[in-house]
Symmetry: C2
């Protein structure tokens, strides 16, 4: 079995389940830390700041620093910066998105936009959607942090950012560039941040349609863990299989030693 | 040339252009009235009450009573009533929709819904979209007043109801039944309200994709008028042509005499 020099790790379903602890996650990350194996947490969630995400992990006794959190907001800020420094951006989103866009040196404006960015916004309004449509029709580059169509909550599946994004894509006829998993944009940036080559990195996650496909799309080996959305049974129905699939991350700890 | 016994008439682009008068419209409708030819105004706009729409027409010196206004809200209320009396409905929309749903005897609720209805709502919130998704996933029948993807305004093209509806259809994977033009549901109801057979009725409108296709889908003859969205040049590109296309409704007045 190959020994990987770097790990990209999903959060919900892999490190925890909503507000519920996943037992093996803490031991797994501690083992990575003890062995000095570089790892980043890669999440489509654009709403929280890296500090807040690290704090949540720490509450589950999972060691993590803000610099190790790679959100779709982080990736979006960098993606824009690679194309234009100090860009004019109209953004729909929550705290995490506005924080990273500002940190990346962009300004938030409502006209003459270079980019329109959509991330999950539970304070969405018609006016925000209207400005996004007008700016996209006016030629702004249309980005969306992630295409997740639904978010699991205690109440059931609520609208995800991919479904909110469809208002603007359906109305304007312009498809956005999605940054998050399963697209490879967020993965390529995370691999670059690790400073490793694709052959040395493995992607770990529970969700076939986001995590595993993201790994495959970025040309990485993939480790599926059966603690979240995609069960062993569901997984068996897909044609392209992950390199590994395990019931619990505890099974993988011996591979790290 | 056939003499039609009933007319279905579009509003925006045919009777007026936004807040702008279309000269021939007034004379055309007055001629219909003088000749005693039954006619209804058929609009995808779900936001206003029939009384309000009639008032707007009167301001343009176009004779119209509330009973002659057939909005997508009216059609939605009737559509539900045909399937279930006193239905439990969760609705997203504006005054016109809530007015006609109440008038049709339905109650507006947020759980155990028989139907979820989406109409344009410029006070849309995430919570409304969340309830719609939960109720559709729970088995409520999903309706949408119309599929218009954009609304022309002074600011430019803003999101229409079809694009707002996509949040729920994309998130749940359930496609709604659209009631308005170009679907035939609203047309069939309007023809029934006229009390005439399809061969006796003609649909008049400016927009190929809504008005003319709606007429064709309902099996009616169609009269395209070149005062709105679909110009003569645009029209020539489509394979299925309307029965007639004229520059102005004034050309049609002699046919009514």
């Amino acid at each position: 079995m190959q020994s990987y020099k770097g790990y990209l790790i999903d959060l919900d379903g892999t490190m925890y389940r909503g507000s519920e602890r996943i037992e093996a996650a803490s031991d797994f990350v501690k083992a990575l830390q003890e062995e000095g194996i570089p790892h980043l947490f890669v999440t489509n969630n654009s709403s929280r700041k890296p500090e807040q995400v690290a704090e949540k992990l720490n509450k589950f006794d999972i060691p993590a620093r803000a610099e190790q959190i790679f959100t779709s907001s982080t990736a979006t800020g960098s993606y824009i910066k690679d194309r234009k420094e100090h860009a004019r951006v109209f953004a729909i989103g929550e705290e995490g998105l506005f924080h990273t866009l500002a940190e990346s040196g962009h300004s938030i404006v409502e006209d003459d936009c270079d980019f329109v960015v959509m991330g999950i916004d539970r304070d969405i309004t018609y006016e925000k959607l209207a400005i996004a449509c007008l700016q996209v029709r006016n030629g702004a580059t249309f980005l969306s942090t992630n295409g997740d169509i639904a978010i699991p909550t205690e109440r059931g599946m609520l609208p995800g950012n991919g479904s909110l994004t469809s208002v603007v894509s359906v109305s304007t006829g312009v498809e956005p560039t999605f940054i998050g998993k399963p697209e490879s944009i967020i993965m390529d940036q995370a691999i670059e941040a690790l400073g490793l080559s694709k052959e040395e990195v493995i992607m770990v996650g529970d969700n076939y349609h986001t995590d595993i496909l993201a790994g495959m799309n970025a040309g990485l080996d993939t480790l599926h863990v059966q603690t979240g959305v995609t069960t062993k049974e569901l997984l068996s129905q897909y044609e392209r299989q992950p390199k590994y699939s395990i019931a619990s991350l505890s099974e993988w700890i011996p591979m790290l030693r």
